[in-house]
């Protein structure tokens, strides 16, 4: 019982501690690729620490939703973090929810941020909120379908079991549907974390911004919570990619050496994914909003193909 608590608490600490670092690393790699020096990789920590010390400036017209939304979305993402395997494949809370719960916890977080963006009544906020909802309506089905292909192979939607099973299969797990679903989920990860073909995370005043437009009204502590929530979500989406599709090296039992190794492997994996995302971001231009359905329907089609090829290969 006590060890179970320890696992959960350690997982929360890891997610909170690594999320800003991942953002920092992606920013640094991007700066390197663009021949800039760029801020240090610990800059997001300083930013959040500074924001937490500042007071919030809040519009007079907002309701309680504006104050509640950052906390609700932060908690929703953190709850998803209790179900997604990060450094150990049998999470104690895995009985509480599966991949569908994760998708909808992300949706809950997104819903409240979008609601808060409408609450302040600024024109930017409304624009950002409507765009975010537009994209999320395309992202959700593709995200579920792509993980379903793997879930079908293992026979459960429980993320911990999927991760453990794929890990124990070793290289046998690599198959057409695995590959197709991975490509599909990678596109989804770009959309879900607001990266460049979909949204530009580096902009604060541009007509095309989505996430930044939604949180434009926030400042001080609330902004820190929203930003940290977004970074956590990014880390969790990456660890979903890493631990569902190539979970090799993840610890399945509780032992100090195993967990240390699995943690190191995990950090290497998410840094590699982060570097690839930074390369994609540097080499592509942001897409027009109305071209995004094309990108996301490619992802939807690929996850659909993954399901089909699972049926073909396994002979349904």
């Amino acid at each position: 019982m006590l060890t179970q608590f320890a696992i959960v608490i350690f997982q929360v600490i890891i997610i909170l501690a690594l999320a800003p670092l991942l953002s920092g690393i992606i920013k640094k790699v991007k700066a390197f690729l663009q021949m800039r020096k760029g801020p240090g990789i610990f800059q997001p920590y300083y930013d959040i620490a500074k924001l937490l010390r500042k007071d919030s400036v809040v519009s007079e017209n907002v309701s309680w939703i504006f104050h509640a939304a950052p906390i609700i979305s932060f908690v929703a993402v953190l709850t998803a973090g209790l179900i997604i395997p990060v450094y150990i494949s049998n999470m104690p809370f895995s009985f509480a929810g599966d991949l569908i719960a994760v998708v909808y916890l992300f949706a809950l977080a997104r819903f409240f941020i979008a609601l808060a963006s409408l609450d302040a009544g600024s024109s930017f906020g409304g624009m950002g909120g409507s765009r975010e909802m537009f994209i999320s309506s395309l992202v959700e089905p593709a995200m579920m379908l792509s993980i379903f292909a793997i879930a079908l192979n293992v026979g459960t939607t429980n993320l911990s079991v999927i991760s453990g099973a794929v890990s124990s299969m070793g290289l046998d797990a690599i198959s057409p549907y695995h590959l197709l679903a991975f490509v599909a989920l990678f596109i989804i990860a770009i959309a879900e974390t607001g990266r460049i073909p979909v949204d530009n995370p580096a902009t604060h005043l541009e007509l095309t911004m989505i996430h930044e437009a939604m949180i434009l009204e926030y400042s001080g502590k609330q902004l820190a919570i929203v930003e940290l929530g977004a970074m956590m979500k990014q880390l969790l989406v990456f660890s979903l990619l890493a631990n569902i599709f190539f979970p090799w090296g993840i610890a399945s039992e509780l032992s100090a050496a195993g967990i240390a190794l699995s943690l190191i492997v995990f950090i290497i994996k998410i840094v590699v994914i982060g570097v690839v995302i930074a390369m994609v971001e540097t080499s592509t231009a942001k897409w027009r909003l109305f071209r995004l359905p094309n990108l996301l329907s490619i992802s939807l089609m690929l996850s659909f193909l993954a399901l089909i090829s699972f049926i073909i290969v396994k002979g349904g």
Partner: protein, 219 residues
């Protein structure tokens, strides 16, 4: 035995990637990215041929693989890029069917080809996967030919169909005799050259390579 298992696994992965590249052609709105996706697909096809050659040990399939690499993955994309550059065509492709519906139709075509293959009752999982991928490539190529307006895309569609047939042939029967294979490569190359010249002529006569324009009378 384990080498054979590894080979069939690699082949399944390559075929999956070939399907991905087909959907890249279907999903992109730029001529250059379509051509690039076709080049990648041919490269992967050469990989499939290479694996077949390695696992069967037939040396003539190596030649086929190298020819695929040289002609389909290098020369033909180069001819495409040359044509696009020379006739200074607008780089966006014109469509009869929009991108998202095209992708959905592509998915439906894959399902249909899977059901076709399932009714044939084939022995191994690899060959049923390869055959259904091959049939879907042929049907998606046909779909590209009828749903895109530019003459270049029609050329790309027919080459996609040819790739599909090649995939089916090489993975099911381990290749046709080398002489037949050489003849096909020669045909494809000459076909591309002739189609290229045809596109130049269409462009000169109609000042566009939009096949919609071909319906109008020129006095």
């Amino acid at each position: 035995m384990s080498e054979l298992v590894f080979g069939s696994k690699m082949m399944q992965l390559l075929i999956a990637l070939i399907l991905v590249s087909t959907f890249m052609i279907l999903g992109s709105t730029r001529l250059y990215s379509c051509v690039r996706a076709f080049g990648i697909q041919s490269f992967l096809l050469a990989g499939v041929a290479g694996i077949v050659a390695y696992s069967t040990g037939k040396s003539d399939i190596y030649i086929v693989a190298i020819l695929t690499l040289v002609i389909k993955a290098a020369v033909i994309p180069y001819i495409f890029i040359y044509i696009i550059r020379e006739i200074k065509v607008k780089r966006e492709i014109a469509l009869y069917v929009n991108i998202s519906p095209s992708l959905i139709i592509g998915g439906v075509l894959v399902v249909i080809s899977y059901y076709l293959v399932r009714s044939i009752n084939i022995r191994t999982e690899l060959s049923s996967f390869a055959l259904s991928a091959s049939i879907s490539l042929v049907s998606i190529g046909l779909f590209i030919m009828i749903s895109r307006k530019k003459a270049i895309m029609q050329m790309l569609g027919i080459l996609l169909m040819e790739n599909g047939l090649f995939l089916g042939a090489i993975s099911l029967t381990y290749g046709m005799p080398l002489l037949v294979e050489l003849g096909i490569f020669f045909d494809v190359l000459i076909g591309v050259l002739i189609m290229g010249i045809l596109i130049f002529r269409i462009n000169r006569t109609f000042e566009s390579i939009d096949t919609d324009m071909l319906k109008t009378l020129i006095g």
